[in-house]
Symmetry: C2
Subunit: 387 residues, 2 copies
């Protein structure tokens, strides 16, 4: 068991009508609010109007239009400018992980006078940040309960993770009903994203018995509840269970004390969505079983056997190699069953830039130190197998 | 799935040499320290000297001699007096759950001018508290990661739980090596305490798939690792896994969104240790299987079946009633196997005050609103079955 130093100071207000506590929470922080959101789904579902009603006494500046794979330019730059011009006290992010991630980059850069890219790349440390409150409308990234935001810079094909303990949300409001209108495509992609968060922590050299149980429970809960959400998008119970299993995805609690894995699937997928702007969860679902097959070896076999038996209920009396292969097949089959396109070509990615992406990943992501080290040819092989 | 409002702001510094960060953590809080501890085991293992070295630049006032089932008089009263007289900035609790619980009652009362009992009984709300830092030396109560302290008042046979969000420890230092010298008796009792914390959350009307997996993982981890600790008290890995599984016991994370259970075994045991000052974990281990047998019914059967299959690996093809009974037997057998005396008479409790205790519990603990409501005759029956 590894040493760790852990704290998640975020308050979670979970359940029906959670946002009724929004004014009370906001009033303790400040009156001048930057309201960040995405393409307008929050208006369709009436959430935008409800937030404006609840915050009638606050001064609200808006940053709409934050895209999936949120962009440094214009969203982060525009947000920082708005914070400075309006002397913003607090950012209220209403949306999914992209809105939250973008808001974290804004929060961390708003009190810095130089180029925000210095902060996002950690060239300059984050010494202070605006507080963030959020209302979540998509179950997927876990950004509502972690200190990380992933930002894309289009012109350099960079998609990178910004970290600072100062950007944990102060409070996350989680009302599962705000995810009722999430499309089947995004429901499935969110499930795949959250499952991969858990797998990135489960597949490692040194895992505890407790963490293995936590991770296996998370995976089983996500699979069962995603299927229920797809069958009935307004199944409160399923949306609620899925929302919370996703929320814990990246804050560490699934695997405190496990050895680090290097998060290889995320590292590879970040290049895919940086180069092609695909849906993150879909990219992960495509990569995951190919990565698994690539790293399956005598050394990793016991992890795959445990995964197969405990997550998919594969017969423990079968030969180990067979259990592991069935587990990888079952992973693929589950993603396919929930409707995810399982080939890169189906999401518009061909052979053309595979080597360029593999090189970019090998140079930037440090996967030579991953659970199973991946060098440029390994990464290229995983990408080609995913075509 | 139930609504919840959750936050645990405590920082956990876990692992070998964790306390090297102590001076840095303390320096941010204050210089005048109340050092609280128990019967002197921290001196035997050299921890007391190491803490004094690390805090050479701090002004330290000491409150030694805090007993198991920590007492309002003298410990809490004396601690509050010392805090006021010495203008204490921060309490450093070094020990197990009793030292921590006592420190929480002191912290919550130190800034109040009236009788501390007003604060502990919530007659007066806790409006401010001294910050608490702790170094844990016993895996059991989870007090290092929750906002509760259990205090006994001998003359009235009261043992009650004090709660305030202001008494979450600021930082808990968890070095498993400090539990190497814990006796077999206390190791087993600590395991039983932590297992019961999980059971109190698992046995409820409405549990999520995720939480069931978390709770089952916690129980299996505690059982496996307690046995390993008893076989080899200096097994770092086993002590570490046990320590962390205990730490999560009462902070809610095992079961966020489950319906409340009323914590019936704790409610009953608190009377046992208030009247007889027995070891809390032993009392719980004795009560638990008798409580289980008392509440087993058509309504609760499915929970016991799930518990039996997933925690003890009982053959799922057996009749449900048989699985449930085997699960209760296995619970009893496990506690017996780790050396816990499984009858009240073995810990010095006879028939004499059963009815008095049952009445006290029925009047004070609200078990008529528990998962399975328990009235005075139910409580008396559980106690008699435990003799």
């Amino acid at each position: 068991m590894q040493n760790f130093d852990y704290m998640t100071p975020t308050r979670l207000v979970f359940g029906e009508n959670a946002i009724e506590k929004l004014p009370e929470v906001m009033a303790k922080i400040g009156r001048r609010v930057l309201l960040t959101y995405g393409g307008g789904s929050i208006k369709k579902m009436g959430l935008y109007d409800r937030v404006k009603e609840l915050l009638a006494d606050f001064e609200i500046t808006e940053l709409p239009g934050i895209q999936p794979n949120p962009k440094y330019d214009p969203s982060v730059l525009e947000g920082v400018r708005l914070c400075k011009e309006n002397n913003i006290d607090v950012i209220l992010a209403v949306g999914g992980g992209s809105v939250l991630d973008c808001s974290k980059a804004i929060a961390g850069s708003a009190k810095y006078d130089g180029d925000p890219w210095d902060i996002i790349t950690a060239k300059v440390p984050t010494l202070s940040a605006l507080p963030i409150v959020d209302i979540l409308t998509l179950s997927a990234t876990g950004s509502e309960y972690d200190s990380c935001g992933v930002i894309s810079r289009t012109e350099t094909n960079d998609k990178l993770a910004y970290f600072s303990p100062l950007v944990y949300p102060v409070c996350s409001f989680l009302d599962p009903r705000y995810t009722f209108s999430v499309s089947k495509k995004q429901t499935a992609a969110g499930c795949a994203d959250a499952m991969n968060h858990i797998m990135e922590q489960y597949f490692c050299e040194d895992a505890t018995l407790l963490n293995d149980g936590f991770c296996e429970a998370g995976l089983k809960s996500l699979m069962a509840n995603a299927k229920a959400c797809l069958a009935n998008p307004e199944d409160y119970r399923a949306r609620a269970e899925m929302m919370f299993a996703c929320t814990l995805g990246c804050n560490g609690i699934y695997a405190l004390g496990n050895s680090p894995s290097g998060w290889p699937c995320h590292a590879i997928e970040h290049a895919l969505s940086a180069y092609y702007d695909i849906t993150h969860g879909e990219g992960l679902a495509i990569i995951t079983p190919r990565w698994m097959r690539h790293i399956l070896s005598e050394r990793t076999l016991p992890r795959f056997v445990k995964y197969g038996i405990n997550v998919f209920g594969i017969d423990a009396s079968l030969p180990a190699q067979e259990i592991a292969e069935k587990a990888i097949d079952a992973t693929y089959a589950f993603f396919e069953e929930i409707g995810i396109p399982m080939h890169l070509r189906e999401v518009g990615i061909g052979e053309e830039r595979i080597d360029e992406m593999a090189h970019h990943i090998a140079v930037n992501e440090g996967l030579d130190r991953a659970y199973v080290p991946l060098l440029e040819p390994d990464i290229a092989a995983i990408l080609r197998a995913s075509l």
